[in-house]
Amino acid sequence: MDTPPVTEQDPGPRRYGRRLFLATVVGGVSSLYWGKAAWDHVTGVVSPVAEAIAPIIPSSGWRIYTISGSMPTFDRATWRLKIGGLVDQPLSLTYDELRALPRVEQVSTFHCVTGWTVNNVHWGGVRMHDVLAAARPQDAGHALQFVSMEVPYVDYLTLGQASMHDVMLAYEMDGKPLKQEHGAPVRLVIPEMYGYKNVKWLQEIQVVPESIDGYWENLGYDRDAWVGRSNGYSS
């Protein structure tokens, strides 16, 4: 007996489009919970590739935040870093005098509170505690006020925080003098805290009795901005 021919039956159009739409939206929304971990994993695995393509990516991972209409400009002839307040030896350092202090380098990761990070930033500058030692804080001083040339940006650290081993005043980044958008001529670097504590365009450090809220803290951010342990984040 002849076997009936096998005919391929077309099931007709299917709503794969709806599934694709929903899967994309659900996948995207759920990535709010796993996206950063996945991204960190991927960039860790393919870091040689990431380093190779970094020079051709225009952003290089940084976003430039400002609070005023124009960025402060650095005039080498007139710029001074003043260290005052509750100190025995107030200082007013020129750029060259700052660079004459014991130089250190470190490689650390920069974390922004909004979620982006820049890995392996190569900083050059001076240790915060070396600068403080030269100014000799008085016993009544327990905190530092960092004043930016970008008015009215100020922020605070306790003396304990500012004396951590990797806190520095950086005047170089990735082997070159700090660029204007990164806070030239000198910025604070405290890798354990989010970027808004890393005050750019520094012009003054005041030793004060206590740490209070700075610019972003007055807008609702945490005073102690520990990476992964503040501002709603938990490691």
């Binding site: 739409f21 994309t24 995207g28 709010l32 919970y33 430039i64 209409g69 509170v113 982006w116 984040y233």
Partner: protein
């Protein structure tokens, strides 16, 4: 409509496309100012640009919603057309040159991803904006999602622009998205399974690249003369 041409896109579809395109380019421009240090340096007023970007995004979503509401009947039918994939569509996505309808499978995927990305851009954008002042809405991955959408959208856009503006075989489609109609020969060649409502054409059913000339039905031919 000109003789030898067939309506491909309705007014509602074209308005939706161009509102989407205008909004996307506006947000891309303002977003890049926030994203690229060199542009941030030039413009500097970050808070202002951030506000323009956010409220521009809100306006974009509202405009899209308005177009969808006003052209709902037509666009609902379009959505039903786009979401359906038949066997030829699936083979086309696997690289086979199978006959396609008014939208080929690649155009369907592009439209679906664009719609999904619009939703995700909106969600992640609102979270970034609200999360600045309220930690309950702050997620470490929001900016990764928003940036990732931008990169994938740019890739889709580059491919889309190449096919719409440069590739000789497909760039005629741009006429369909601007004035609405396309040449019948072109439509038959690229979209042989499409059966337009307003033109009776003997569309080939068996071969995609058949070297044929379109045969207008008698009634239609007389109407066109």
């Amino acid at each position: 409509m000109k003789a030898g041409y067939v309506q491909r896109f309705s007014a509602a579809e074209r308005v939706l496309h161009w509102v989407n395109a205008a909004g996307f380019f506006f947000l891309l421009a303002t977003g890049l100012i926030l994203y690229l240090p060199s542009l941030s340096m030039l413009v500097s007023r970050r808070q202002t640009i951030q506000g323009i970007h956010f409220w521009g995004g809100v306006g974009w979503l509202c405009a899209l919603a308005a177009v969808v509401v006003l052209g709902f009947r037509r666009l609902f039918a379009t959505a039903r057309e786009i979401e359906r994939f038949d066997e030829d569509d699936l083979r086309w996505l696997r690289g086979r040159r199978t006959p396609q309808g008014r939208f080929n499978a690649g155009q369907k995927v592009n439209a679906i991803l664009t719609a999904a990305f619009t939703v995700l851009f909106g969600i992640s954008g609102v979270l970034l904006w609200v999360g600045e002042g309220d930690t309950r809405f702050r997620f470490a991955s929001t900016v990764i999602l928003h940036d990732g959408l931008m990169y994938v959208s740019l890739l889709l856009l580059v491919g889309h622009l190449y096919l719409a503006l440069i590739h000789p075989a497909t760039r005629h489609a741009l006429r369909g998205m601007t004035v609405g109609d396309v040449r019948v020969e072109w439509a038959v060649h690229h979209h042989p399974k499409w059966q337009p409502d307003d033109v009776q054409v003997d569309w080939p059913r068996t071969r995609h690249h058949a070297p044929w000339k379109p045969q207008f039905a008698d009634a239609d031919r007389s109407r066109r003369r």
